[in-house]
């Protein structure tokens, strides 16, 4: 006798929802597919009508054109330096501060933390002019440091790391205290390794934000050899007379996104688990 047993799979999943999401996913992908399609077409052909995207032939000429422009690699390196520098800086400062706010006792701890939280609501516009002037004094414009520094003040990282440190059982650092470890050693050797998932989360966010930053590099990196990729691409986009073909623009979009997309694809699993499983187990 073989009657179908009831199977409890439905408890947390729902196939209909999944398919709706899949359709949304297709819609989500459509603009990207469109751009990729355009980027693979000859500009002249596109001039006659963009329906051409749906038919052969395809070409890589737009990418070849981009690759030949030598500055792109310089911009890429700048973006990398800035994004990595900012990520390391934010992780370091936020971890130190997060640890102290979550775990250590010192005068005015709560007050300071609340003040820092207020920093979350400060929009960049409210400080950017004064910042620009300050960097002027110290000759920091058109330097990597100058591009890295401003976002180190982001309160978000401190907030996040404080939460993560709070989630670690207190007994762990108490055990280390009894093990005669100094406060810094407790931080460095015991607790910091436990926040690795959190570091990954914050690191990824910081990296992406730095990579995509627009306004500050625009006004701080005013020399071409200090351009980041975002600024560089934007600067080369406005050639009025020739009004780049859609294909070339598409290729630029794809090309400029490529590094992060590759990083993303490689680390996707970590990113996803980092974002979702950030809590310390």
């Amino acid at each position: 006798m073989k009657t179908m047993n009831y199977s409890p799979e439905h408890l947390t999943s729902n196939r209909h929802l999944f398919w709706i999401a899949a359709v949304l996913g297709v819609i989500m992908m459509a603009p990207v597919a469109w751009i990729i399609g355009l980027s693979l077409k000859d500009n002249a052909e596109l001039l006659k009508g963009t329906e051409a995207v749906f038919a052969m032939p395809y070409t890589l000429v737009n990418y070849a054109n981009i690759l030949e422009s030598s500055s792109v690699f310089g911009w890429f390196i700048n973006s990398m330096i800035v994004a990595i520098g900012q990520t390391i800086g934010v992780l370091l400062l936020s971890s130190l501060a997060g640890y102290a706010f979550a775990r250590l006792e010192f005068p005015f701890r709560k007050t300071l933390f609340i003040i820092v939280l207020f920093g979350l609501a400060v929009p960049e516009q409210a400080v950017i002019i004064a910042r620009h002037q300050m960097f002027n004094w110290f000759d920091l414009h058109n330097t990597h440091i100058g591009l890295i520094l401003p976002n180190l003040s982001s309160a978000f990282g401190v907030f996040l790391m404080t939460q993560f440190f709070r989630a670690i059982p207190k007994e762990i650092d108490e055990a280390a205290m009894l093990d005669n470890a100094s406060t810094f050693r407790i931080f460095w050797k015991v607790l910091l390794p436990l926040t690795l998932p959190a570091q990954a989360t914050l690191g990824i966010f910081t990296f992406l934000q730095a990579w995509n930053d627009y306004w500050w590099p625009l006004i701080s990196a005013t020399k071409a050899d200090m351009y980041t990729l975002t600024i560089g691409i934007a600067s080369s986009q406005t050639n009025f007379a020739q009004s780049e073909g859609l294909g070339f623009l598409g290729a630029q979009a794809v090309f400029a996104s490529l590094p992060v997309v590759i990083v993303y694809i490689f680390f996707q699993r970590h990113i996803v688990t980092a974002v979702s499983g950030g809590a310390v187990k």
Binding site: T12, N14, L17, F18, I20, A21, A22, L24, M28, M29, P31, V32, W34, I35, T50, L93, S94, L96, A97, Y99, A100, F101, E105, F106, P107, V116, F118, G119, L120, A121, P123, Q125, A126, V127, I128, I129, A130, R131, Q133, L152, S153, A155, V158, T183, L208, W211, N212, Y214, T230, A234, A253, S257, V261, Y264, Q268, V272, V275, S276, G277, A279
Partner: protein, 293 residues
């Protein structure tokens, strides 16, 4: 008699010194300076003269600013609920361990990694008349074409679409994280309690992630109030200023008109608005909590 050992000590504060020094020099100090500038008649290249609150009066009396505030509020009012609900929906639909759903999760998050220049480039190429993807689709179905970027009403909508497309990843991820924290046995208990799917959603799932919903909403409100790049690059605030957000107003006043004082004043007003919105939400959520407890 010697003091017995205490854990609270000044030296522990050293850990926050590096961050606090950056925080003070790069955020608090410029903020204070910004406030000072807002009280002065000053342009990009000097000419500082104290004029009290006049800049604020000018900003608040400027119909363009009023329009920008209205645009921004509408934008936040529509895009944030959309982001929250869509993010929640996606999280619910993709909260599984199958290959398909992890692929889709990756896909929906992927757009968040693109920079604003790219996102707007993509969407401009989608929305442009004649050659755009939307134009092709409309043509295919024989519909009347719409000037998505150049029609009052549609322009802000289009900016919103691009924004939601760009920003949906983070809310989805945060919701997924929250959903995965819900113990599985709650669902089992609900199954034994004969709960329908709808009841499970409304009575178990949503209440369990209430705080995350609040968190996501606050983050998004703060972020979307700072809308700038999308509007600047897609519609340039137009037509007729119908998609000009507050930040763009600040940008125009400060950098096109060189009126730094007035721009600073508008910035401080934006800061205040964001602060109030965030505090209001925080207050609502904590107050609800207390009532519940």
């Amino acid at each position: 008699m010697a003091e017995s050992y205490r854990r609270s000590r000044w030296s522990n504060g050293l850990f926050v010194v590096p961050y606090l020094s950056v925080f003070l020099t790069l955020l608090v100090f410029p903020l204070g300076w910004g406030i000072w500038l807002s009280l002065n008649k000053v342009d990009l290249f000097g000419g500082e003269r104290f004029i009290g609150l006049k800049n604020y009066a000018r900003v608040l009396n400027d119909p363009i600013f009023a329009q920008a505030v209205k645009n921004t509020v509408i934008f936040v009012g529509v895009s944030v609920p959309t982001l929250v609900m869509l993010g929640l929906f996606l999280a619910l639909a993709l909260n599984k361990t199958t290959k398909g759903s992890s692929f889709l999760r990756g896909l929906f998050f992927a757009s968040s990694i693109l920079s604003v220049t790219i996102v707007t480039l993509i969407w401009r190429i989608v929305f442009i008349p004649n050659d755009g993807l939307m134009a092709l689709i409309f043509e295919y179905f024989g519909w009347q074409p719409i000037g998505f970027l150049s029609t009052t009403g549609w322009s802000l909508f289009s900016v919103g679409v691009a924004t939601v497309w760009w920003c949906i990843g983070l809310p989805m991820m945060l919701f997924l994280a929250a959903l995965q924290q819900i113990p599985k046995d709650l669902y089992e208990a609900a199954a034994l309690d004969n709960a329908s799917r709808w009841r499970v959603l409304t009575r178990i799932t949503l209440p369990s992630i209430k705080s995350t919903i609040m968190l996501v909403a606050v983050i998004q409100v703060v972020m979307q109030f700072q809308l700038f790049g999308q509007a600047q690059l897609m519609t340039n605030g137009g037509p007729a200023g119908s998609s000009r957000p507050i930040v763009m107003y600040i940008y125009e006043v400060g950098f096109l008109r060189w009126d730094i004082g007035m721009g600073a004043a508008a910035s401080q007003i934006l800061f205040l608005i964001i602060l109030c919105a965030a505090m209001l939400q925080y207050w609502i959520s904590t107050r609800k909590e207390e009532v519940d407890a």
